[in-house]
Each structure stands twice: as C-alpha cells, then as structure tokens.
Amino acid sequence: MSEEENDEPRVPLFKIIMDDIILLLFLGVTIYAVFYLLWGVMEIATVPNLPEDFKNSILK
C-alpha cells in the first residue's frame, strides 16, 4: 500500500450510506415496496374465493 493511500482518512460505512441520497432513496423505496406492498398484495391474492354455492346463497 502506498504512503498516500495510508494518509487518507477512512470514512465509516454508515456515513457513506447517510450521505448517499440515491442509495437512501433506493433503500427507502425497496423496504417499503417489499414489506408493505408486495407482502400485503401477496397475502390478499392468496385469500381463497368464496365457494360458489355460498356466494349464490348470499346474492339470492
């Protein structure tokens, strides 16, 4: 390792994340999309349909 590289102060990873607007945007959108939207829509999509005869008895 060269002397120059040794002199550069090491920036903590968390500070790099905190100062990177685009990365924060990506993380914010992804966490929300995965945990709230996708997970929620998947759960709704897997709710079984009402049995036809039960549905008809309600609609009568």
Binding site: M18, L24, G28, F35, L37, G40, E43, V47
Partner: protein, 555 residues
C-alpha cells in the same frame, strides 16, 4: 439571476424565490378552503346545530380532507423543498421551466378536484374506496397534482445534487436540508404509490378497466394516504431544527444522531400505512404487527430521538447564552415573543403528548380495536398533522414573510398571540374528539344519534359535554387560523417593504457561543421533560389496555 439577502447573506436565485412565493401562496389558499370546510363540519357534528344535510356533509368531508391533508401541506412542502435546496445552499434553481410545469400541474389538479367535489361529482370522501366511483376528472385532477408534486421533488434532488457536485456544499448537507431529503424520499414513495393506484382507478372510472379489487385498492391507497402524512413529519422536524438555529443560534447537540433518526424515517416510517388495515381480515397478523410497528418501532425510535434532540438543542443554546439557573431557566427565558419559536415549542408539545402517544397506542392491533373508525382517529391526527405540522408551517411563515416576500408582518402583536390561540383551539378539539371516540362515537358519520335509522345506540351522556368542547375548540382554532391567513395575505400584498435587517420583527440570532465542557448531562431540563413524557405515555398505554380488558365481559 441572484440577489444577495441583506439579512442572511444568502444568494437567492430569483426564479426560485418566485416559485417559493407562488407555492406558498397556493398553500395559504388551500388552507383557507380547508378551514372553511372544517368549521362547517364542526357545526354539523355538533348535534344541536347539525348544520349541513347528509349529502353536503360527506361532500365537505371530502373537500376538507383533500384541501387540508394534501393541497395545503404539499404546496407548502414544495415551497420548503425549493427553499432548502436553493436558498440555504446558495444554489441556483437547476431547471426553472420544470418548476413552472410542476406549479401549473399542481394548480390545475387543485382546481379540477375542488370543482368536481363541489359539483357533487365526487362524493367519495378522500379515500375514494372502490366501488365508490367519482367523475373521471376528479381522478385526473389528483393525478395531475401528484405528477406536478413529483416533478417538484425531482427538482429538489436535482438542486441538491448539483450543489454537491459544484462544491457549494460539502458531502454532508446542513441538518435542515438533510431532513428535507428524508421528506423528499418519503414523497417519492408516496407519490409513486399514488400513481400506482390512481391511474388504474382513473381508467376504471372511464370504463376501460372492468374490475378494481377493493382490498388491494385499500392497501395501495393507504401507501399514499398515510405516507403523505409522514412527509409532513420529516419536513416538520426539519423546520424545528431550522427555527432553533434561526431563533437561538442552536444546533443539535449530536447532529449524527439526529441524522440517523432521519435515516430511520426514510427506511421504516412508510410501513405504518398498515394502521388503516388493522381490522381487515385479508392480511395476516404477522404483516400487521411488522408494518404497524414501523419494523419493530424503529421509526418511533427516530421520533423519540428528535423529541429529545430538538428541546435539548434549545436548552443547550440557551444555557450557552447564559440562562443557566436551575433546571428550567432556559425555558422560562426563551424568546416567547418570537411567534416562530412559540409555534415550534407548542407544536412539539402537542405532537408528542397528543398526537404521538395516541399514534402508538391506536396503531397497535389490540388497542386499536377500541377506537377503530371512531372520532378518536381524526382526534389523533389533529394532534399530529394540525398541532404538529400546520402550527409548525404557520410558525416558519413568520420568517418567510420578511425573508422571501420581503414584507414586514402587519399587526405583529397579533402574530405573537396567534400560535397560542391556535394551539389551545386544536388541543381542545383533538382531546375532545379522542374522548368521544373512546366512548364509541363514529367518525365520518353525519348523524351520531342515528335518527330515523333502523338501529339506535345510547351513548354515554358525557358525549354531549365533549361535543360542546369539540365545538368550542374547533371555533377557536378556526378563528386563529383565519387570523393567520388574513395576516399573511395582508402582509404579503399590502405590508411595508423590508429594507434591511432593522426591519426584521422576528430576530435572527447569532450562533450561540461555544460552551464550556459539561460534567454529566448537557441538557438536564430536557431529560426531565422527556421522562415526564415517558411517564405520560406509560400511563395512557396501560389505561388503554385496561379499557380493552373492560370492553367485553369474558367468563
């Protein structure tokens, strides 16, 4: 084209200044519409007057909700985003033409939505749950407004990134602008979700799509409806830090911790949209618990950090200015004559003690069931959005009038009283609504007596008392808001011009002097106040569990 501000020394891009002014003016117009709607609703829910008929009640609920929660807030936030990304950073406005496009789209959206609602073509309330169907122009209006706002948010990012690239600001942004970055990211999430749900709903209203799933609609819609209020939280907290800086020359005693709290907002606060689906059977308890707890209370932790960081920055600055006696000399000797400062402190108290405590309690699956769909829910968000956000926005306007509109505040003495009147009114309104909700009075309901209905219900007789308090609080808050609107309009259009620093009625403080190293706590008074808050929260928390236990008789 720039001008150099003779008060702050900032270089102000004139295009940016014009756009800030116009967005702020539209925000005030929207607030005026919102409060007119609000007073009509108060006197309809107040049973002895029962002002509007059922049709107009639901129409005005829609009108009030959209103007108060969307148009007033978002117009003001766009003005704030332009201010934070250009004036504060000495940065030019990067794409002015798009700034105008954004503004025109937002105004067109506001006009279309309000015309459709008042014409009786969109009696669907703010949530517009399918299969309720409004006129296609209503949905188009919402889409135009959202697209305009999204363009405004993108322009904010463009301004900030350009300022960083041209070294007008270092890698680390000022705390105020950093908080606005959090607000802007939440706005991207919110407005994109709005597009995801409103575009198909618009097509459905035109008959181009046959079926909209109500459960999916509700889930996605609340990604817009609730998250839009989280933009407010981030913007409001940013303004709190700004006001402490302007009024006292104070900064957060640990900026890194404050920034971390904003990051927690970005990552987790939007998950809380699930609060509105707590009684929906389609989603599992695991989904509800994870999302309504903001990923195990990480975003609540962020609010608690700010709840400590903002008052402690006030205390720290005041102590460095010499107000060192005892635990609360710093608070007693605060600049209470500065309406921006008093607005901020009152907003923090109301947001924390009323909005925050009820938000966490009502957001839990178990205790939510006591108050779900009752008046307690709007009572809660009167504590967050109105005492918190609206009062904060009103407060910072007392700085914007001389600095951006270059006008003196007319009837300044009235401005010093206005935040207290508004706080008292909304606090009374909010607490009364929460009490009414706890007694089972439904929200968004034209007639609480169910007169003429097939079912009746005898509420606790105390509801009459709380309805009266609600009416009194609502009236006081309406008058205080009207004073603010009139004062802003008269000052901006007819007020004397600001010619220099001597015309500043709201003082801008120098940086607080460097303090001596402190042994122990730097802000002991704030620590005690935070403990008081914690005890209040714990008491309310356990009272609600007690009420839950008493809700049904279990043998």
């Amino acid at each position: 084209m720039f001008r150099t501000c003779d008060i702050t020394g900032f270089k102000v891009d004139l295009t940016s200044e014009r756009l800030i002014r116009l967005n702020a003016v539209m925000a005030v117009v929207a607030l005026l519409l919102a409060i007119v709607g609000a007073i009509l609703l108060v006197f309809t829910r107040y049973q002895p007057v029962h002002l509007l008929d059922a049709e107009w009640y639901y129409r005005i609920v829609t009108f009030h909700g959209l103007n108060a929660l969307i148009f007033w807030i978002v117009f003001f936030e766009i003005a704030g985003l332009y201010f934070g990304s250009t004036v504060v950073l000495n940065q030019r406005f990067t794409y002015p033409a798009f700034g105008w496009v954004s503004f025109i789209l937002m105004v067109a959206g506001l006009v279309m939505v309000n015309v459709m609602v008042l014409a009786g073509q969109a009696d669907v309330m703010m949530t517009s749950y399918v299969p309720l169907k409004a006129h296609p122009l209503y949905y188009l209006g919402v889409i135009l407004f959202a697209v305009g706002a999204l363009i405004g948010v993108i322009l904010f990012f463009s301004n900030v990134i350009t300022a960083k690239r041209t070294k007008k600001v270092g890698e680390t942004l000022p705390l105020f602008t950093y908080g606005l970055v959090a607000a802007a990211i939440i706005a991207v999430i919110t407005l994109s979700t709005g597009a995801v749900i409103y575009i198909p709903t618009f097509l459905w209203s035109l008959g181009l799509i046959e079926h909209m799933d109500p459960a999916v609609y509700k889930l996605v819609w609340w990604g817009l409806g609730h998250s839009s209020q989280q933009i407010n939280v981030a913007a409001m907290v940013s303004i709190w830090y700004l006001v402490v800086f302007l009024a006292l020359g104070g900064t957060s005693i640990n900026e890194r911790v404050s920034r971390t709290a904003f990051v927690l907002y970005i990552l987790f606060i939007c998950l809380a949209s699930a609060h509105h689906l707590l009684t929906d059977p389609a989603t599992s308890s695991a989904w509800k618990v994870w999302n309504t707890s903001y990923a195990m209370y990480l975003a609540v932790l962020a609010s608690l950090i700010h709840a400590f960081a903002v008052p402690s920055s006030i205390e720290s600055a005041q102590r460095r200015w010499g107000f060192n006696k005892g635990l609360f000399d710093w608070l007693a000797k605060g600049p209470w004559g500065n309406p921006a400062f008093s607005s901020t402190v009152l907003a923090i108290i109301g947001f924390g003690f009323i909005g925050g405590t009820t938000g966490v309690i009502f957001g839990m699956e178990q205790t939510n069931i006591i108050v779900h769909n009752t008046l307690a829910i709007p009572g809660h968000f009167k504590g967050t959005v109105v005492i918190g956000t609206t009062l904060t926005f009103m407060g910072i306007t007392y700085y914007l009038i001389p600095l951006i509109f270059r006008r003196k505040i007319v009837a300044y003495r009235l401005a010093q009283i206005q935040p207290w009147l508004f706080f008292a009114g909304i606090a009374l309104l909010s607490v009364s609504m929460i009490a009414l909700g706890q007694m089972g009075v439904p929200r968004r309901h034209w007639d609480s007596t169910f007169s003429g209905g097939p079912f009746s219900f005898a509420f606790n007789p105390a509801v009459d008392f709380f309805f009266t308090l609600m009416m009194l609080g609502g009236t006081l808050a309406f008058l205080a808001a009207l004073i603010w609107v009139l004062q802003v309009v008269v000052s901006v259009f007819f007020g004397p011009k600001v010619k220099g620093p001597s015309d500043m009625q709201v003082p801008i403080s120098k940086l607080a002097p460097e303090g001596k190293p402190v042994k122990g706590y730097e802000a002991p008074g704030t620590l005690l106040l935070t403990m008081l808050f914690l005890v209040t929260f714990a008491v309310l928390f356990f009272i609600n569990w007690k009420w839950l236990a008493a809700a049904w008789w279990v043998e």
